[in-house]
């Protein structure tokens, strides 16, 4: 590897298949068994690289969420035109009575 720092020597994986499966559920993704294996290896490798900052002592620095010191950017509270409802609904996978139509929400847990 010619750039970006040496990969840390084979550290124990910081993330295992159970955690990857859990994270996939949280993210509404379904993984096949072979995907679970491959993603676990790949995420472990990326997190091992990220571990180099986990060891940095930066506790006295403020966290930076954003490059700009912006707070509460508001406009005047006056009604303004929005996108045309029919134009927006035309892009929906399914509609009914000028609303988005979805499969049932209530009922048994999936």
């Amino acid at each position: 590897m010619s750039a970006g720092g040496a990969r840390p020597p084979s550290q124990p994986p910081v993330i295992g298949p159970e955690q990857v499966a859990h994270v996939a559920r949280l993210a509404r993704l379904e993984l096949r068994d072979d995907e679970l294996t491959r993603f676990t290896e790949q995420l472990a490798s990326v997190l091992a690289y990220a571990a180099e900052i986990a060891e940095l002592d930066v506790g006295d620095l403020e966290p930076m969420a954003h490059p700009l010191p912006l707070h509460n950017v508001l406009r005047e509270d006056e009604p303004q035109p929005t996108l045309d409802r029919d134009v927006v609904l035309a892009e929906a996978p399914a509609t009914e009575d000028r609303r988005f139509r979805v499969p049932r929400i209530m009922g048994e847990e999936p």
């Binding site: 590897m1 010619s2 750039a3 970006g4 720092g5 990969r7 993330i15 955690q19 990857v20 994270v23 996939a24 949280l26 993210a27 509404r28 993704l29 379904e30 995907e35 993603f39 790949q42 995420l43 490798s45 990326v46 997190l47 690289y49 990220a50 180099e52 900052i53 986990a54 940095l56 930066v58 506790g59 620095l61 403020e62 966290p63 930076m64 969420a65 954003h66 490059p67 700009l68 912006l70 950017v73 406009r75 996108l83 045309d84 134009v87 927006v88 892009e91 929906a92 996978p93 399914a94 988005f100 979805v102 499969p103 049932r104 929400i105 009922g107 999936p110």
Partner: protein, 480 residues
């Protein structure tokens, strides 16, 4: 294209050449060359010709269509175009036609530019090679077996192949500058907040910026002046006028203090490092005071970036749920429909980033990863701030290597991520940066040199870029 954007616009405005003729030339070049390169995912021939005729009528009637009159422009396919498919090279958005134009698209049109097509990209801008596209990879015009870089690889290749003089891309961790370097064109990322993100499909909202790719620094400057400036529809848009950069291109760097950043040159390939040092010498010869400076904080930028960007992406991409637009895979209930849609609609890299981000934000890991990365972001910004007490601008490589072979890094995400190591610091700090072509490696592949400036230092950045362009070795390259 024959001629820069500025030269073409000048010909069209003066009536020496019709916009139709310019657009027909671009369309002919795309038709001849793009089946091999695959820079475009959609070519808008009819719309572009109609628009060209409008421009020609305006010129004939004595009105000025604007500084980019008749200039064919390519748009990365994550920029919303009203009524025109905008896919982000993702199956989940296949066929989606946005109900509105991005602000940058409106502003380009108002300046007389003509959109000729949408360009290929890594899915949702996640990647450094344009291989993560649902419509297949784009090829580097200098060597068709190599990647054009990414994620704005289609835009970079479209300019490098001479299809168009100008394109827009987006840059979250280097996605304009890195492909510009690998394709031998100019690519510029503005200060965060200078260009409106309204209508840019969000990847990592605190990092994303739209910017130009072009064959020359002057063309990038004109384009930035057109697309920059406050927009009330983007709450992170700065209340500042568009930066005055066209006049800066020829200003020179005499007496300017330029720092050659050790961390942006010492781990790059020897050929790349040699070009960067040659560029530093050229700036010194042009009258700048060049000195090497170490910014050790940059070493941690990449790790912080690959926690912050996925964390933001995991949140931004939650909107793709099969309800309001894009793909839906039917299932008996809504939760199963969400899962089926996202599982079928997202490619592997997008899934990796969403899971990485979800993990970094999840209970028990938030402090160790995400909060830590945000503090490291401050650390990197502090590194810049200290350097800018001593220097007016900074210099380094844009990428650690020249263009790599298609397929080389697709199975090793970390190796791919390391492509971004020189570009992410500017995104973390929100500063402007530009990649300027500067000769080739020994194999004839383009090398990009990166110039950086403090926030809102665009005039300084373009002065530096102009000086680099004037000092650059004659364009090399294998094919074009």
């Amino acid at each position: 294209m024959n001629g820069s954007a500025i030269a073409l616009a000048s010909e069209v405005r003066s009536g020496d050449r019709s916009a139709r003729d310019v657009v027909e030339e671009a369309l002919a070049k795309i038709a001849a060359g793009d089946p091999e390169i695959h820079a475009f995912v959609e070519v808008l021939a009819d719309r572009a010709l109609d628009r060209a005729d409008e421009i020609d009528r305006a010129v004939a009637s004595g009105s000025d269509p604007g500084p980019l009159a008749g200039v064919p422009v390519a748009l990365k396919d994550n920029l919303c175009t009203a009524g025109i498919p905008t896919t982000c090279s993702s199956k989940i958005l296949e066929g989606w036609r946005p109900p509105y134009d991005a602000t940058v698209v409106e502003r380009l049109r108002a300046a007389g530019a003509i959109v000729v097509g949408k360009t290929n990209m890594d899915e949702f801008a996640m990647g450094s090679s344009t291989e993560n596209s649902c419509s297949g990879p784009t090829r580097n015009p200098h060597d068709h077996d190599r990647v054009p870089g990414g994620s704005s690889g289609g835009s970079a290749a479209a300019v490098a192949a001479g299809f168009v003089p100008l394109a827009l891309g987006s840059d979250t961790g280097g996605s304009i500058r890195q492909p510009a370097a690998l394709c031998g064109v100019v690519g510029m990322k503005p200060t965060y907040g200078v260009v409106s993100r309204y209508g840019l499909v969000a990847f990592a909202s605190s990092l994303d910026q739209i910017g130009p790719l072009s064959a020359s620094v002057a063309d990038a400057a004109v384009t930035l002046e057109v697309i920059a400036g406050h927009d009330h529809r983007d709450s992170t848009s700065l209340e500042a006028p568009a930066p005055d950069v066209v006049a800066a291109v020829d200003r020179g760097v005499e007496g300017k203090r330029i720092g050659l950043v050790t961390e942006l040159v010492d781990r790059t390939d020897p050929d790349v490092a040699a070009r960067v040092r040659q560029a530093a010498d050229a700036l010194a010869a042009a009258g700048a005071e060049v000195e090497e400076v170490s910014i050790p904080q940059f070493r941690y930028g990449l790790a912080a970036y690959y926690l912050i960007a996925p964390a933001e992406a995991s949140s931004n991409l939650a909107r793709f749920d099969g309800v309001r637009y894009g793909l839906r895979v039917d299932a008996p209930d809504v939760a199963a429909m969400n899962v089926a849609t996202r599982t079928a609609g997202f490619g592997p890299e997008v899934k990796r980033r969403i899971m990485l981000g979800t993990y970094a934000l999840s209970a028990g890991y938030y402090d160790a990863y995400y909060a830590k990365a945000q503090r490291v972001r401050t650390l990197v910004s502090d590194g810049f701030a200290y350097a800018y007490t001593r220097f007016d601008g900074l210099l380094g490589a844009t990428t650690p290597t020249t263009a790599f072979a298609i397929g080389d890094r697709t199975d090793d995400p970390l190796a791919m991520y390391l492509s971004d190591t020189c570009t992410v610091p500017a995104n973390l700090a929100g500063h402007p940066a530009i990649s300027v072509p500067f000769g080739t490696d020994q194999g004839g592949l383009p090398v990009g040199v990166q110039a950086l400036a403090p926030a809102l230092g665009e005039p300084m950045l373009f002065a530096l870029a102009g000086a680099l362009e004037r000092a650059a070795p004659e364009p090399g390259g294998r094919n074009p």
